[in-house]
Every structure is written in C-alpha cells, then in structure tokens.
Amino acid sequence: MKKNTSNKIKLGIFTSLGILVLILGIYFIGERQQLFRSTFHLTGVFKDVAGLQAGSNVRFSGVNVGTVDNIRIVSDTSVKVEILIDESTRKFIKKDALASIGSEGLMGNKILIIIPGTGGKKEIENNDMVETVQPINMDDVMLSLKKTIDNASSITTNLSSITGNIQSGKGTIGRLLMDRSLAQNFDSSIVNLKQGLFGLKNLMDDTKISFANNFDSTFVNLKEGSAGFKILMKKAKDSWLLWGF
C-alpha cells in the first residue's frame, strides 16, 4: 500500500513536470510572438512584400520588437501588411517612421524593418498606417546585374577586336605601334631635324655676326648723322632767315 502511494506520487511528479515543461515551451514561443505582452497594431501597404510571411520578425534599430500579424492582397498593386509591435517601443517610433522589407543575412528569412522617424514628430499611434519603402527585389538586382554583365561582355569583345587590329597594324595606333617603316622614317626625320638644326645654328651664328656688325655701323652712322644734324640745327638757328622762331 505504501509502495503504491509512493508510485502514485512519483507518477504525479512525472506528469506535473511534463506538463510544466510543455507550458514553459508554449510560454516562451508565445512570448516571442508577443502573445503575452501588450502590443499595438500598425499597417503598411507594399507593392511587393518579397516573400515576407505572417509571423516574420519586425525589427527596430536591429532589435526584434514584434511580428507580422497578417498579410493580405488588397488589390493587384498593393499588399496590406498588419504588424504587431511591443507597446514599450511605441514611444520611439514617430509618425514619419518608414517600414521596409529586409532579410536576415544573405540566405535568411525576410523581416520587416521599421526605420525611426525624425525626433521632433509625434509618436505613432495604435492602428496607424506607416509609410513604406519598396523592397529591393532580387530579381530586379539580377536583371540589372545581367545588363551590366552584357555591357561588360560587349566592351571586352570590342577591346579584343581593337587590340587585334593594333596587333595587325591596322589603324593609326596600330601603324604607330606596329609599322617599322614609320619608325625608320621617324629615325631619319630625327637625323634630318638634327642636321637642320645644326645648319640653322651655323646660319644663326653667321647672321648674328653680320647683324652685330651692321648694328654697330648703323649706330656709328646714326651718331654721325645726329652730330651733323646738331651742327646743321645750330647753323640754322644762327641764320637770319629763321629769326623769330
């Protein structure tokens, strides 16, 4: 009889512990989904939710503050997302806050990100509609990336044909780089230029001497002329014909 009672007690403890573990599990899962906290509702309308699901996390400044409650297609161009956020974070979210859709890492789940508004604005209220930023669609990114790759491909093709032409001596640059006669002409031009410059130098030297001589004789003549002119002027001054002037 005593053993029977002890067995019943053991069974009672076993069952109670099992139920307690289950309740704790339910509590912690519910806690994450904000079931046991006071929350407030926000709604946002997106054109494309990019795979966001009901139950996805809502982040504010990198902290999980709520969950996506419901997602409904309202029209062919808009999807309404209902958000549940912990009441304690309401004071930090302003009226001009923005909601955008991001992801947890490169391969992670989609999350809803609340971007805080400006400090001076009023805090957001329950059931308010939050402005949204359209998410960057990976398909669009891939499409743009494809265009870039196509462009890069055509550029490399062109570059390849240009270098081919250069190598085969076609075009100005090709002839410049690959034509030997041009180099020889250039060499002979340089030689001619050198000779020409030498001749010019000699010419200049000769010119310099004759010019100096001429310049000197010009000055002598000028000096003599001005002396003659001075005498002439003196004689003219003394002459009676120019009295009164």
Binding site: N4, N7, K8, K10, L11, F14, T15, L17, G18, I19, V21, L22, G25, I26, F28, I29, G30, E31, R32, Q33, G55, N57, N64, M107
Partner: protein, 280 residues
C-alpha cells in the same frame, strides 16, 4: 440416419477427390484474407475500446499503476535516447552548416528537427519497442495461462481492466514522455553545440524559441497522442487475441512491436500531410 450417411459418404469421398487443393483450403488461410480479417478484428477491438472507456466502473487504480509502469518507468530509456539524438544530430549537422558559414543556425535547425519530427517519431518507436511488446507479451501470457478467462468467470470485465487501462495509459503517457524527450534532446544539442563552440545557455535557448512557432509544436504534440493510442491499442490487441500456447506469447510481442512501429510511421505520414495542408 445411418443409411443417409452411408448413402452420402461415397459422394463426399468423390467430391474430396475431385476438388482442387487450393479451393479446399479454408478461406482464412490466405494471406490476403488474413490481413482483412485482422483489420476487421482490430476495428471491432477499437470500437469495443471506445464503448468500454466511457462506461463505468472506471479502473482508476489500475490506470494509475499502468501509467506508472508505462510512463514513469520508461523515462530513463526515453531520456537517454533523447539526449543522444540531440547530441548526435548537432554534431552531424555542424559540418554541413559550417560549409555555408551558417553555424549560428545550428540550434534553430536542431530544435525544429527535434520538436517537429525526430523527437516524437524516435521516442514513439522506442516506446513501441518497450511498451508495445510489454503489453503484447503480458496480455498474451495472461491469455495462455487462462487468467483472462478466469477474470471473465469471476465477473470482472477483463477488457476494461486490462485493455482500456493500458491503452489509456499509453495514450496519456507518450505525449508527456515526448515532452521530456524533446527537452532532454535540446539539452543534448546544447552540449553538442558547446563541444566545438561556445554558446551561452541563454543565447542557445533564445535562438531555439526564436525559431519555433506554435505551428511546429501543436501538430507534433497532437500526433503523439495518436502514436500512444496506436501503440497501446495494437499491443493490447495482439496480446488479447494471441494464440494459446507459449509460441503465441512470443508472436504477440513480436507482431505488436512490428505493427505498432509501422502504425507510428503511417500516422506520422498522415499527420505531416494534414499539417502541410493547413500551413500552406
């Protein structure tokens, strides 16, 4: 009378000679028919269980005793199995996740695997091996030694006393055992994560509860009730309807484990289909 027998006997002899052997076999000997006969008797057994379970008098003391034997006594085995599952799953999953640089997802992945599928199924299989065979062998040996007949003679309802209590105990105890198994499995996973890394208890369990949803927990818990019911019912059925003789005890225990394990998988498959139907 004697004349008629004499008159008929030559014809009967002729008939026995002309009828091919395959047709002369009793219908129940064919495997196909045997299977459907088994299904029919299991169905009537289940129907009888539901009739008896709500009808007083209720065998509470026996229910307690069986719950103690089936549930409490199975805890060490289930606990060790659960711990090893968590540990091994974590160690085996780490290299694959490490290839993608996603080791931080290890607790979440292991938690979802254990809670949704591996915990309930492995625990149910162990439970089928221990409890299903136990019930089958116990009831079969009672049948062989004519204790069941004796109970009937002494105006005790053997079905209510032996079958209903055991099936109910298995149905109630298996979900509780699976809760323990899952919890111990997650502890095993925590040890596994910390064998080659350093993750705090708080962070580990926080990541686990971040990754779990009611959609993971509820279907897993509900299907364990059906697992327990199937294991208890098949164990009792095989034991209660065993052949008289020592061979019947072994056969009953063996087929109880085999059919109970098979039923666990079948129920699991149906549960997964129903769950995915609701989740998508």
């Amino acid at each position: 009378m004697e004349n008629t027998i004499l008159e008929n006997s030559p014809n009967e002899h002729l008939e026995a000679e002309t009828i091919p052997e395959s047709f002369s076999e009793p219908i129940s000997d064919s495997v196909f028919n045997k299977f459907f006969l088994e299904v029919a008797s299991l169905t009537s057994f289940t129907w009888r269980f539901f009739k008896e379970v709500f009808k007083p008098p209720y065998e509470f003391n026996e229910l307690m005793k069986q719950s103690f034997l089936i549930g409490y006594k199975s805890l060490p085995l289930i606990g060790i199995t659960g711990f090893i599952i968590g540990l091994v799953l974590t160690i085996q999953s780490r290299p694959t996740l490490a290839k993608f640089g996603a080791e931080s997802w290890l607790p979440a992945m292991v938690a979802v695997s254990i809670i949704r599928e591996i915990g309930p199924v492995i625990t149910a299989l162990i439970f089928a091996g221990k409890v299903g065979s136990g019930i089958g062998a116990e009831l079969a040996s009672m049948n062989v030694t004519e204790q069941i007949d004796a109970m009937q003679v002494s105006c005790t309802n053997p079905f209510k006393y032996l079958v209903v209590t055991r099936v109910l105990s298995a149905t109630i105890m298996l979900p509780i055992l699976i809760i323990f198994s899952d919890a111990i499995g997650l502890l095993g996973s925590f040890v596994g994560v910390n064998l080659k890394g350093n993750v705090s208890t708080y962070l580990f369990f926080s990541q686990i509860f971040q990754s779990l949803e009611f959609g993971d927990l509820a279907p897993a818990f509900i299907k364990t009730i059906f697992f327990g019911f199937a294991i208890g019912l098949i164990g009792s059925f095989k034991g209660y309807n065993s052949y008289k003789g020592t061979e019947g005890v072994g056969k009953a225990a063996n087929s109880a484990v085999v059919f109970a394990s098979l039923m666990v998988f079948i129920i699991d498959m149906i549960a997964v289909q129903i769950t995915s139907l609701f989740q998508n």
